[in-house]
């Protein structure tokens, strides 16, 4: 690289041609740190894409973002009727239990599902504009996070109506659980969005897989119901290996509060494990470390796949 002589006068418009300019390379493969630095450089694009998705989603609809509240509200109502009134599961404040777990799950599901198709659905952009394509997947997770924030309103309403105070012993773990969930969802989102370009079935596959995943996570049923069964075979670790489970448990422990409340039928029901905050801290920490490594691997794989995106789309 030749060096510049200084002292050249700027043109009337103020453009200085002889200033130091950053150099970048276009080459077959970029290292993972380079890719992540590039994503960081485009962080304002992430904000703009998230804003776009939110603006466009309920554009021209009369109720607007209220739809994003009605959706979980309806879900909670139906499950409340089926499980509490018809099947008589006996869980007290079942609506809050549902709302808490669902809040966390919806963030994960809508983020991952939206991200899977994100690169394919934005093929026009991918073919014409150069920017880190991972941003598209991350924007899906980002907009899911914004809808998550809207939906906390539903939970807040339930908490106020039923006069439940969040547990001070556990509530400080919620931001940590959110970081773990966002990181894990982002890693999965980047990976799937890249694979989907080559294997379009991924989108449909994920719709089905996420349904199974939903039932593998304690959202509708209490964790302890499964725990009792699995503990006999020493398989609890397998159940907890699903990163969305400890996250859901953290949410439930913080907002549903009681681990072993008195049931609606007058007996004690075992709902949540009696682990202390330190157990949650350790598990969430492990998920964060795992998700971080997973994210790096996803970015690496995405980088390998990206080379032919413009041709495959």
């Amino acid at each position: 690289m030749k060096t510049d002589r200084g002292g050249a006068s700027p043109t009337p418009s103020g453009y200085q041609r002889d200033r130091e300019l950053p150099t970048h390379l276009v080459r077959p493969s970029q290292t993972v740190p380079q890719r992540i630095a590039n994503i960081w450089r485009y962080r304002d694009l992430l904000k703009d894409l998230v804003a776009k998705e939110i603006k466009v989603k309920y554009k021209d609809s009369a109720l607007g973002f209220i739809w994003s509240l009605l959706n979980p509200a309806m879900f909670i109502l139906i499950y409340y009727i089926v499980f509490q009134k018809i099947l008589k599961n006996g869980i007290p404040l079942f609506a809050i239990y549902l709302a808490t777990g669902l809040l966390a799950w919806n963030l994960f599901q809508s983020g991952v599902l939206g991200a899977t198709g994100s690169v394919v659905n934005n093929s026009g952009l991918v073919k014409k504009v150069a920017f880190p394509r991972e941003i598209l997947a991350l924007a899906s997770v980002g907009s899911a996070f914004i809808f998550f924030l809207f939906q906390t309103v539903v939970l807040a309403i339930f908490l106020i109506v039923f006069r439940v105070v969040p547990s001070p012993r556990f509530v400080w773990l919620v931001p940590l659980a959110l970081i773990a969930l966002l990181l894990f969802a982002s890693a999965l989102a980047v990976l799937l969005s890249g694979i989907n370009v080559y294997l379009r079935d991924m989108q449909h596959l994920m719709e089905i897989l996420l349904q199974a995943w939903f039932w593998a996570t304690p959202v509708v049923y209490p964790f302890m119901e499964i725990y009792k069964q699995l503990n006999q075979h020493g398989l609890t670790w397998l159940y907890l290996a699903n990163p969305t489970t400890p996250v859901a448990l953290t949410f439930q422990r913080a907002f549903y509060v009681k681990a072993n409340p008195l049931g609606t039928n007058g007996t004690i029901v075992h709902i949540l494990p009696s682990y202390g905050p330190m157990w949650y801290l350790a598990v969430l920490g492990a998920i964060i470390v795992f998700s971080f490594i997973f994210f790096l691997v996803s970015v690496y794989i995405f980088g390998r796949l990206e080379g032919n995106f413009a041709e495959e789309l």
């Binding site: 043109t11 390379l25 804003a51 466009v56």
Partner: protein
């Protein structure tokens, strides 16, 4: 002078599939034996572009010029080799790529600029310039889906040029929009050139490349086959076109090639404007009569024929006047030995300024170009009517008529 873009032995191969297998079932059935051909879009290309240079990339369809531009822009990654880029790069491959129809012009400016790598603060600082350049005024708050295609293109161009790029990549985008818009874009490109920014310009149109670029590269089948001053590169490109290079071999090409081979023996010798050699430049009064004498020689002493096209460009590279003998329903000009074709213009309505002329000879049957020559600043118009100006000249006089009378008592 520093290097702005350095392309180091870049190759790009595409896999051409007869049919794409993207579903799981198809992938499983055809696993590992998907029928495809490997198509080398670019083969071992190396060059450097000095800062401040405007480079044209010429080539027929499928020659790889757009692929090369996409590689430089970072949209495609090369299969081999690397590209070193110094400074901020703005690619205009499609105006308004990334506009969302449901968002307002304002929101789209932010989104589009962010796509090009600008931070929010940087867009804030440029926002007014972008709106002003786009001439959208109050429409900026309307949804983009209600824009006309011209408004759309203007906004896209405005965002791209206001990014303050060190390197601007332009691909055929000036083809859209009306003449006014094209003039404005060209003026902006000229401004960039004067400021010493680097521009890489891709076009099918040798005219546009000639109007804008100082040097040009010619690509053929993914290889760099020539480089040099624009005029030479354009001549080289035409040679490749004549020799039938290109992806699309339609059955009639054979004949055309044969005819072209004969007609290539016709040569454009000189252009005289009112008796003065255009090489030297001619000073004319505004609205004066002009007679062009075009000297055509039959080099091979075979009787040949050709159609003739005359173009007059203004300083911005816009063709203001164009006359084509075939479109005037004339018979082809027979060339035996040396002939002089005389073109008369009753009066040239050109405003004060300098103009370039171009003469093209075409093969009468195939319509292929035999030769093209350009005389930069061939005509200099002086002494127009005082106080009357614009793109073209006019004779104006002003007088006042009384429409009704009224008593002021």
């Amino acid at each position: 002078m520093a290097t702005a873009v350095e392309v180091v032995s870049v190759s790009k191969t595409f896999r051409l599939f007869q049919e794409k297998y993207t579903s799981l079932k198809e992938k499983a059935i055809h696993f590992g034996k998907v029928p495809h051909e490997v198509f080398p879009a670019l083969t071992d290309i190396s060059f450097e572009v000095e800062q401040g240079v405007t480079l044209g990339l010429l080539g027929h369809n499928g020659s790889g010029k757009s692929t090369l531009l996409k590689c430089i822009a970072g949209i495609l990654t090369p299969s081999q080799g690397e590209i070193r880029i110094r400074g901020r790069i703005a690619a205009m491959l499609e105006l308004g790529a990334g506009f969302h129809p449901d968002l307002s012009g304002r929101a789209n400016i932010y989104l589009n600029a962010a796509l090009m790598g600008l931070s929010r603060k940087e867009v804030d600082a440029r926002f007014d310039d972008i709106v002003e350049f786009s001439e959208l005024g109050g429409f900026i708050e309307n949804q983009v889906k209600f824009y006309s295609s011209g408004m759309y293109a203007r906004l896209g161009f405005a965002v791209a040029v206001n990014m303050d790029p060190d390197i601007l990549l332009v691909d055929e985008v000036l083809a859209v929009g009306d003449a006014n818009f094209q003039l404005k874009c060209l003026a902006k490109i000229r401004e960039f050139q004067e400021e010493g920014r680097t521009i890489i310009f891709v076009s099918h149109s040798p005219d546009l490349v000639r109007a804008v670029c100082s040097t040009a590269f010619v690509l053929d089948h993914g290889r760099l086959v020539g480089q040099g001053p624009t005029a030479e590169a354009v001549a080289l490109l035409q040679k490749f076109q004549l020799s039938g290079s290109g992806l699309n071999h339609d059955p009639s090409t054979e004949d055309h090639r044969l005819e072209a081979a004969i007609s290539r023996d016709i040569h454009l010798d000189a252009l005289f404007v009112n008796g003065v050699d255009a090489d030297r430049g001619v000073e004319l009064q505004a609205m004066s009569q002009v007679e062009l004498a075009i000297v055509i020689e039959d080099v091979a002493s075979l009787a040949g024929a050709c159609h003739l096209e005359v173009l007059v460009y203004n300083a911005a590279g816009v063709a203001l006047i164009r006359a084509h003998t075939r479109e005037m329903d004339m018979e082809p000009i027979l060339v035996r030995g040396t002939v002089e074709a005389v073109v008369q213009f009753g009066s040239l309505p050109l405003a004060v300024g300098s103009y370039s002329m171009q003469v093209n000879l075409y093969h009468p049957q195939s319509g292929m170009m035999i030769e093209s020559r350009r005389w930069d600043n061939a005509i200099m118009i002086v002494g127009g009517q005082k106080g009357v100006g614009g793109i073209i000249a006019a004779e104006a006089s002003v007088f006042v008529k009384e429409v009704s009378s009224r008593n002021f008592l």
